[in-house]
Symmetry: C2
Subunit: 420 residues, 2 copies
């Protein structure tokens, strides 16, 4: 018997709070085993800094509303811990905070860096014989975690961005005599899962998007310009989706070429803006660009119900598995059927998830590598289904949850580790 | 008795098709007076080129679905006609096409350029004693038409962009230790109506957006950097919304300073990207930017019901007024009460609308000029209310209307006017 802490880390998603809600509601059902549940302000940084708040003090309504609230309500950060030896002071501090508050359950919702941290915390606890259950909950719009069929967060960004492409595609279609080319930038530094998902928007051959570029397939400016010219000849308009992380044959980011900013400084500009300029310069076609950036990963107003429900289930399952004795594991999604879509949960070792990245398989794209193949439709299609009910205020705009954040009194001196 | 034509022109909106739907459904109820209703492909260009299709051949379901379909389903263009003398050949051509197809009703959905064209067509018809009723239907996300309380299209872009700011604002709030500053670019080349509407997203002082910049208030980089530093000191994060058209004290576009593109060419870059770079260079704070561009004006998936219904009503009223004998008029929205919000329709001379631009009143912004005042909340608040029901396909994504576009046989030789 002991307390629990939940932390979120890394880039937010539309449904990471659904996972938090799954953890919180399930823990609160177990008050006899887990007396207190803490939230960590600013992700793992909040644990290092002993900056915790009492989730038991939040109303059931606030907690339920997490399922309709985007971004990381508990708090987040990017705070990468290195090896157990290099960052020994930080890992020891984490354990010290756990001990000070009798924390026996650590639920960490994040991507592979977070799973790496969780794995190391788990191993250190075992080494020190501190009884701790560490459970990871997958989160990333990038969908690039190994050992799981897909990641909570992905279905929602896929649904929203595909919808934006359908809508903005109609704009390009109506305005082709004036604005014939539109480039939309999709998130995805290393993998093309998000860009590829916008391919779902095209139900007929003439619809947007016409061309999709992903980091897994080397990008050639010459071939790209040929593709643009060919589509323009055929349809009179071109709607392009490009992953922010596309790279040329030498492995360099295409965006890196847009390197001189307005001040003459080197700057990693956006790839969509770069390609827009390239198109206009080389083909004479007027082009514009959309870069939804953080708007795409927080769009709870048009998130996928499938995704949201699975995110919740992963959080809930993490608690159940921890209570059943599991530790050092991440809850995975295991697809058992495409049609009808069915998905169960499973467990994978944190270390396995920590060290892998799952690229978009080549056969999910077509032969030319500029649109999706049927395999991608079968894979991603079920993940975008259903709508998440949101709460609308009297003013016509969404209402999101906000914690009161009742602080937990500190028991340790401030942390003064290296680089902190 | 004679036929009718409907055309859309200029930048699309989420609800311009609701106006088209209002026109089409009302005309189709009057088949005894108006035997045929034509749509113009590519806006006014389609009339010049006698490129018409038969809206009577479309299914009632397709027509009804226009209310859930973004962008300009009839077709659009940017094709500015000049004075009646300068572009005499084009205006005469328009009349010739009307005569060839016995078109006696011209419904033109657009902004002030379109109202200018419609006004000139109307005057030419009167001069030539050709019996024609010309009715304008207001359309612009920019909300800058005079003589109307507001413009169909505005409420929807306001609702969507304010929602995106709420959502992305939560991202900045969660990630402030890593990404403390976000700049979101709002459309609005000449007026700040759209940027200002995002101010509705802030229900509490610490919420996004923290700073809003509009073209009506001269932009000073020094003051801007002071504003950013002040908000960052106070809250630890800064969420900024900026109109694409902000100008400095000399009246120059701020975006124009980001003029050297990746190829060393002069280029009007986006102002958000420029300010992001400025912030990082001058304050050292990491900053990112969102530019939703054409996604914002087509977001039917989260459009405002008030806006959509008014757009429909304007289209319908244009037909009713034309049948009652009106011509040379634009249907206006006349607010009769703020609370409860009530709005009637009225009529304004096309010439009045054609020659005006309505800026955001200074008192709609606060004293500092960096956020909205209560007057703006009272004005814009009612316009974003209600949700537009959309149709979702089996695949979980929206389904939009698409015309079969049965062509109307041409009766005239091709147009070979100057510059065509």
């Amino acid at each position: 018997m002991g307390n629990a802490v939940v932390a979120q880390s890394g880039g937010p998603t539309a449904v990471i709070n659904s996972s938090a809600c799954g953890v919180i509601e399930e823990v609160l059902r177990q008050r006899d085993t887990i007396p207190s549940l803490f939230g960590a302000n600013n992700g793992i940084l909040g644990i290092v800094q002993e900056d915790l708040f009492d989730l038991g003090a939040e109303s059931t309504d606030t907690i339920a509303l997490l399922r309709a609230t985007p971004s990381s309500a508990v708090g987040s950060c990017r705070y990468k811990l290195g090896g157990l030896e290099k960052d020994a002071d930080k890992y020891q501090r984490l354990l010290a905070v756990f001990q000070a508050h009798n924390i026996r359950y650590f639920f960490y919702i994040g991507g592979n860096d977070s799973m790496d941290t969780a794995d190391k915390v788990n191993r250190l606890a075992q080494k020190l014989s501190y009884d701790l259950r560490v459970m990871g909950v997958a989160k990333t719009i990038d969908n690039d975690l190994v050992a799981t069929d897909h990641c909570p967060g992905y279905g929602s960004v896929a649904k929203f961005l595909a919808t934006c492409v359908m809508e903005a595609g109609r704009d390009t279609e109506a305005m082709y005599t004036f604005d014939p080319v539109t480039v939309t930038e999709a998130m995805g530094r290393n993998t093309g899962w998000i860009a590829a998902a916008t391919g779902l928007a095209r139900r007929d051959e003439h619809e947007a998007p016409h061309l999709i570029y992903v980091p897994e397939i080397p990008f050639s400016e010459e071939r790209f310009l040929e593709d643009v010219r060919e589509v323009h000849r055929r349809l009179g308009r071109v709607f392009i989706v490009v992953s922010e992380g596309v790279r040329n044959e030498q492995g360099q980011y295409v965006a890196a070429q847009a390197e001189v900013d307005a001040f003459g400084h080197r700057q990693l500009g956006g790839v969509a803006d770069y390609l827009r300029q390239l198109i206009t310069r080389e083909t004479g076609l007027k082009a514009r660009y959309n870069k939804l950036d953080t708007c795409q990963r927080n769009a709870i107003h048009f998130a996928a119900r499938t995704d949201s429900d699975e995110a919740y289930r992963c959080g809930q399952e993490a608690v159940r598995q921890a209570l059943a004795g599991a530790t050092g594991k991440m809850v995975t999604l295991v697809r058992t059927s495409d049609n009808p879509y069915q998905c169960a949960t499973g467990l994978a070792p944190l270390a396995e998830v920590a060290n892998g990245v799952k690229p978009l398989p080549r056969h999910y794209m077509d032969v030319a590598g500029t649109h999706i193949a049927e395999a991608m439709r079968s894979y991603a299609g079920p993940l975008v289904k259903g709508e998440v009910p949101i709460r609308i205020g009297m003013d016509g705009l969404p209402v999101f949850a906000r914690f009161v954040r009742r602080p937990i009194a500190r028991k340790l001196p401030p942390f003064v580790g290296r680089g902190s």
